[in-house]
């Protein structure tokens, strides 16, 4: 070994340890913290529920704060569906696009007293010439609403009837259900004459 190291090294002994015992107050502190932790867990853990996230403290609290589907919620849901499915052709503002889709704003097909004609249009589709607000249109619309549930279609139609200045009343899920029941399993697209033959 290097002689300088031998000469200058500090005592290079292995360390030893005393056998002093753990003071009682540390154990008391540990138990106190365990207890407080348990209390905290009881209040803030949601008891392992997979759906309870902070700030909810329990599954009951989460359940209490679920919004019921009020009119505003339905309109918002209807708007979302409209933007995704209908707005592509009819425009985000319901003004329609030439050669693509007629406008919904102020349309007599939308602002009907009843719902029989309006509900059928998205459920069966619409072909052939028709007049909307004095203008002629001759396009074909697929049954864009056939895949939606009764509630979702009702929300969309309510949204259309209550936006952009339209002031017709809402369409309910039951209305949609009633119309669906009258249609066959795979209805053919209707045309303007067939729709006019129905009551509004």
């Amino acid at each position: 070994m290097n002689p300088e190291l031998q000469a200058s090294s500090q005592p290079d002994a292995e360390p030893t340890a005393t056998r002093a015992t753990v003071p009682m107050w540390i154990l008391v502190l540990l138990l106190l913290l365990l207890f407080l932790g348990g209390v905290y867990f009881d209040h803030h853990s949601g008891w392992f529920d997979a759906q309870v996230y902070r700030p909810y403290a329990s599954a009951e609290e989460l359940d209490a704060y679920q919004p019921k589907s009020g009119a505003a919620a339905m309109l918002a849901q209807g708007k979302r569906t409209y933007d995704m499915i209908c707005g592509v052709c009819h425009g985000p503002d319901g003004m329609g696009k030439p050669n693509q889709a007629p406008p919904l704003v102020g349309s007599e097909w939308v602002n009907t007293k009843g719902f029989e004609r309006l509900v059928r249009i998205p459920l069966t589709g619409l072909n052939g010439p028709l007049q909307v607000e004095g203008k002629d249109w001759n396009l074909s619309m697929a049954a864009m609403g056939a895949a939606l549930s009764d509630a979702d279609l009702a929300n969309v139609l309510t949204y259309i009837r209550e936006s952009w200045g339209n002031k017709a009343g809402p369409v309910t899920a039951d209305d949609v259900k009633a119309v669906r029941a009258k249609l066959s399993a795979h209805p053919q697209p209707l045309n303007a004459e067939q729709l006019k033959a129905l009551a509004e």
């Binding site: 759906q51 989460l62 019921k68 009020g70 918002a76 849901q77 509630a151």
Partner: protein
């Protein structure tokens, strides 16, 4: 040594308990998660990210965007709001009542009590649920992030540091593709004072040919390439922008309810 096996087992259990608690247990609880539905609707959530957006997540990962940006919204509270939907037959009585009541920031029981009072006076009400917290107040989101938001992402890029804003809903905040691309190319041209580094290596500069490329970036006045040149995103740049545009987490869910 004495009781060597017993001590080894004890250490094994003491260390392994956290493995059971934070690796196995979350996998049992959340690992089989499936799509859920949006609250009060039959719309499924989440929908998988379209192809280019999924590639964009890999560009996000490769360039370590999570080093400066988070993708998680926190929520510190939830409150009820009582909204009048119909004044009923006696509007003046209802409006007098409303002026005496607190209708915002209520706990559920208080909201129910106020709602009952108004109904008794002839009006109709709705109770709206409102999520609150600094992240939500900043407009970064309308509710907190929950497990479903990350269902189809690999790797989940939650991020741990907010040098820049949170990105959970950046597709809602900045839905314009051109803005996202210009921001990646030269952040300070669209966000004054930004310290985000420019990601010019995701783009190509070339001379404008017969006509400008449809993909060419449109810059705000005062920035951008010299006159005869245009900047076009490389595939990685396009993918990253597609990923950013696909980031939205603003529909109400059972575990993060709010009235939209």
């Amino acid at each position: 040594m004495k009781n060597g096996t017993a001590i080894f087992l004890a250490v094994f259990v003491a260390l392994g308990a956290s493995w059971g608690g934070f690796v196995l247990a979350p996998e049992w609880q959340l690992g089989g998660a499936k799509q859920t539905t949006v609250l009060n609707s039959s719309e499924l959530y989440p929908l998988g990210r379209p192809g280019e957006a999924y590639q964009g997540l890999q560009v996000y990962r490769a360039n370590g965007c999570a080093a400066c940006h988070t993708e998680q919204i926190r929520q510190s509270g939830v409150a009820c709001e009582v909204v009048l939907t119909s004044a009923g037959k006696n509007p003046s009585a209802v409006s007098n009542l409303i002026s005496t009541l607190k209708l915002n920031g209520l706990a559920k029981e208080d909201a129910d009590a106020a709602s009952d009072k108004i109904t008794a006076a002839g009006g109709k009400t709705e109770i709206h649920i409102v999520a609150s917290g600094p992240d939500i107040a900043r407009g970064w989101g309308t509710r907190q992030s929950v497990a479903e938001d990350y269902l189809y992402d690999y790797p989940v890029q939650l991020g741990g540091l907010r040098v820049g804003p949170d990105l959970s809903n950046v597709g809602v905040r900045e839905p314009d593709l051109n803005w996202q691309l210009v921001h990646l190319y030269a952040p300070s041209s669209v966000v004054k004072g930004s310290t985000m580094p420019p990601f010019r290596f995701l783009f190509e500069v070339h001379k404008i040919g017969k006509a400008p490329s449809p993909d060419a970036l449109v810059f705000p006045k005062g920035s951008g390439p010299p006159a005869a040149y245009e900047i076009v995103p490389k595939p990685e740049g396009r993918e990253l922008a597609a990923y950013l545009l696909s980031l939205h987490a603003n529909v109400p869910l059972y575990s993060a309810p709010f009235t939209p």
